[in-house]
Amino acid sequence: MRKSRPNYFAGFGSLVWLLVVGLPLYVMLVATFQSRPDYAANGPLSFPEHFTLDNYIDDLNSGFAQYFLNTVIVTVSVVGIVVLLVPPLAYTIVRSRGRATTTVFRLFLLGLAIPSQAVIVPMFFVISEAGLYDNLIGVILPTAAFAMPVCALILTGVMRDITPDLYEAMTMDGASSRRVFFQLVLPLSRSGVSTIVVFSALQAWNGFLFPLVLTQSAETKVITLGLYDFQTEHGVNTPGLLAAVVLSMFPILIVYLFARRALVQGLMGVGGK
């Protein structure tokens, strides 16, 4: 009855947004299958006359495979560190009554407000003194550290939803903290853990400033930097650049196709339940 009216509005709005999201993606795809002169001559909206894959081939030959690998290494390592360190931290924050823990929690809350740019100067100094300049480890460590506050917050939110009686029941049985953690807390906060996996992976994947300042050679270049350098070289070619953008999507696209549910659920979890 009265339901149909707002639906027209929603339907229209959703199509407008589809256009906003879709148009640049269309431009991107179409451009990558054209040669440079064709793209310049035909404009971004027209369909390719002479279909070519050269842009992709050229990109892959100019080192993008290496950049992929580097990004994957960074992403996996960052996720590893975060997943190893944050759940015990969140568990402590939720369950411990100690003063030290409160301080630590405050510290992490403060950490939310520390932009990674703010520490980039001393970070360079420290990483370079440690001999980690131009080394992926030097990118991984700070990236992981800066992914932690949000992850800690997300996970504590999830763990708080575990009701006290469950803890009670276990501790009544004389269970140690370790057992409580592994048998109660972890299983019940699986959704939260998958959220922090997705979130920290996203952070690492998007990482730009740390690699920009802390690495320099092609061997340590990550995809985001590859794209940036592509753009700032003299005489860049737009179809080639956009092909690189498409290529940069692939690893996440594969994750998206095969683990869409987990990825989407994970991201939904960022907001808590």
Partner: protein, 433 residues
Amino acid sequence: MKQRARLSRTLVVGGAALALVLSLSGCGGDSDAAGDDTIHVLVYGDAANKVEKEIVATFNKTSKVKAVLDTIPGADYQAKLQTIINSKQAPDVFFNWGGGSIKPFVDAGLLLPLDPFIAKDPDLKAKFLPSVFNSAVVDGTSYGVPMRGTQPVLLFNNGKVLKKAGVEPPKTWDDLLAAVEALKADGVTPIALGGGDRWPTLMWFEYLYDRIAGPELFQKALDGDQDAWASPDSRKALSSIRELVDAGAFGTNFDSVKFTDQGSPTLLATGRAGFELMGSWEYSTQQDAHPEFAKSDLGYSTFPSVEGGKGDQANVVGNTNNYYSVLKKTKHPQAAAEFLKLMYSDQFVKAQLAIGNLPTTTNTEGFLDAAASPEFAKFQYDMVKAAPAFQLSWDQAYPQSAATAMYQSLQQFFNGSMDEDAFIKAMQALPTS
């Protein structure tokens, strides 16, 4: 050694402690044990690296100390260089633009004076065009040896577009203004400008200041004479720029166009613009992106003269050259010297010419026929050789710390959001060396 301030000690201690923790925790990178019999050569990463690789290979054939080539991609080169030059990662030999780009390093005592090398091997200086070599002389001491090529700024054009509008490459400022009107009437943007990159805008300032006030004015300003910017000549140059912009010479959206993403070169190549003021690399850019256009319709001329101006119309603006400088703390100064000697070898000159660069050695002239585009190479060589003055790009002549503010003011004056007085004030506020 200088006495360290207490503050720096705190920093060093804090940083070192953290660094130590890192190294102890087993994630420290490889130590510099391998650095004993190598010299690291750091260059700007781009297509010209091909030649640098060849030269390094040649050097390594005979030398016991091996050279290792490191590159940093274009836009970040200067920033990266300054961050690492006083750290463990510092190279032994590095690429630079001479002038203001190495001045801070000289002041910090980081660079090795090359005069002793030159005393032993006079060719290290004598084999280069003097005006070029002198750009890397700081306070009377030589700190750099030219490498790669000279990059004068030229007024490029699309011959077809000019013909259609009945326009010739301009010889005088008035010619240029007339050409602008004719091209506008013909429905094309008279001059393509990649204002989004900012440095293309700078080129218009450099040439107009040179033609109107002569190279002396800028030198005075650079030496700290604030009045130079407020002088009548300076104001005349500014009003000429205003006149050109207001005449619609660059269209209205130049600040959204970039050279670096092919925006402005494409305008020129596809006949949507008549001229572009650009460094000599425009030629290879066009050859790469629009080979047909580069072959048939790409024209070039020197910047027009300005009536009543003090600058010689043969003066040139641009990147004088790139240079190799040597760090004082290198363990192998002799090897570095040997390496530098390759910069005037026949192999070097031929290889540079083949990729479209124009070296400034005295033997270059003999190889010009072997250049990628002999006619263009000869035109540039004659132009540079005949130039009474070669104005180094302002952003490289000034200390690095001035560049950002300089770009901002240039862009704002150019697009009309800053007036003459505000611009003069902004330029006076720039830190000078």
